[in-house]
Amino acid sequence: MARARGTFNAVSHERHMHSDTDQLLRSILTDVLGLKSGQADAFAADTGLFGHLPELDSMAVAGLLTEMEDRLDIVIEDDEIDGELLESYGSLLAFAEAKRAES
């Protein structure tokens, strides 16, 4: 996975940060959903998650969020967890990117 090195180009660095979150989130979903390597690359912003994938039950969602905290180095409050957050890949990624920008 390509990581931004150096900070001489702030714009490029920002872009890399985002794609890094995207990559990490796809790898977390790969682990949670037991996807084959590369399968998560097909997730688009409007790919449905909670409510669309029967295997993504409450325990799996809890595991997903805890793993996001670990790997993205963020803290997720339980009152931030709602149906909208997990509705699609795009909404989850936007949440993760906002959280990383905060920290």
Binding site: G34, D57, S58
Partner: protein, 223 residues
């Protein structure tokens, strides 16, 4: 592989518990302390896959039920992590274990006296937080608002149901403070390759991970 019974000491007296065993009275004998609560289901397949590989490598292994789980006749809500530690110590003696493997939260209740490996160990507080979070997500779907703090309080005063497991207040109090026992060699998930199977939404298997874990143990035990 056969089921084996072992005498398990509990506060009310000794009871019979079961274990899965590969016992050919060999020199090397590994006690496996399973993952806890909900993770136990998702890690069972990998655990038994590792036992089969160790058997082929000439190592006996034993996977005891924690009292109150699996084939146990004991009520789960009367168990505590302390009673599980005592139970696993006695299982180690009964099966004459020479080594210990603890899986995930099993590291919290594993015998401390034998050479041990902790595979992807996890703190008690983290297990509790995630179990409570799963309950919050599930309650929210049903239109019921629950909070982490509120459920922790409830759990400590009256006990709590977490993903089908009825835990007593004393269990919760002890679990909150438990960290993996010291002196063991840690096997982080990265060394097996791939994602941890406890993360999976549904129980799954991974032969490559079972191969890797069994290889690490075989080399370590026979060294």
């Amino acid at each position: 592989m056969t089921p084996a019974a072992w005498p398990c000491p509990l506060p009310g007296g000794t009871v019979e518990e079961y274990a899965l065993a590969f016992d050919s009275r060999r020199l090397h004998r590994l006690l496996i302390v399973p993952a806890l609560l909900d993770e136990a289901n998702r890690m069972r397949r990998l655990t038994v896959d590792v036992m089969r590989r160790l058997d082929n490598a000439g190592i006996d292994s034993f996977l005891p039920d924690l009292p109150g789980t699996n084939e146990s006749l004991q009520p789960l809500d009367l168990q505590t992590p302390e009673s599980w530690i005592a139970a696993m110590e006695d299982a180690a003696l009964h099966f004459a274990a020479t080594h210990v493997l603890a899986i995930r939260g099993g590291a919290l209740v594993a015998p401390a006296e034998l050479p041990a490996w902790h595979y992807a160990p996890v703190k008690g507080a983290q297990i509790l937080r995630q179990q409570i979070r799963a309950r919050i997500v599930s309650a929210r779907e049903a239109g019921v608002a629950e909070t982490q703090d509120g459920l922790q309080q409830l759990a400590l005063s009256r006990g709590i149901d977490l993903s089908g497991h009825r835990l007593g207040p004393e269990f919760v109090r002890q679990l909150q403070a438990l960290v993996p026992r010291t002196g063991a060699q840690e096997i982080p998930q990265e060394t097996l390759g791939g994602g941890g199977l406890w993360l999976r939404a549904e129980p799954d298997e991974d032969r490559a991970q079972a191969d890797a874990l069994a290889a690490i143990l075989t080399i370590g035990i026979k060294a």
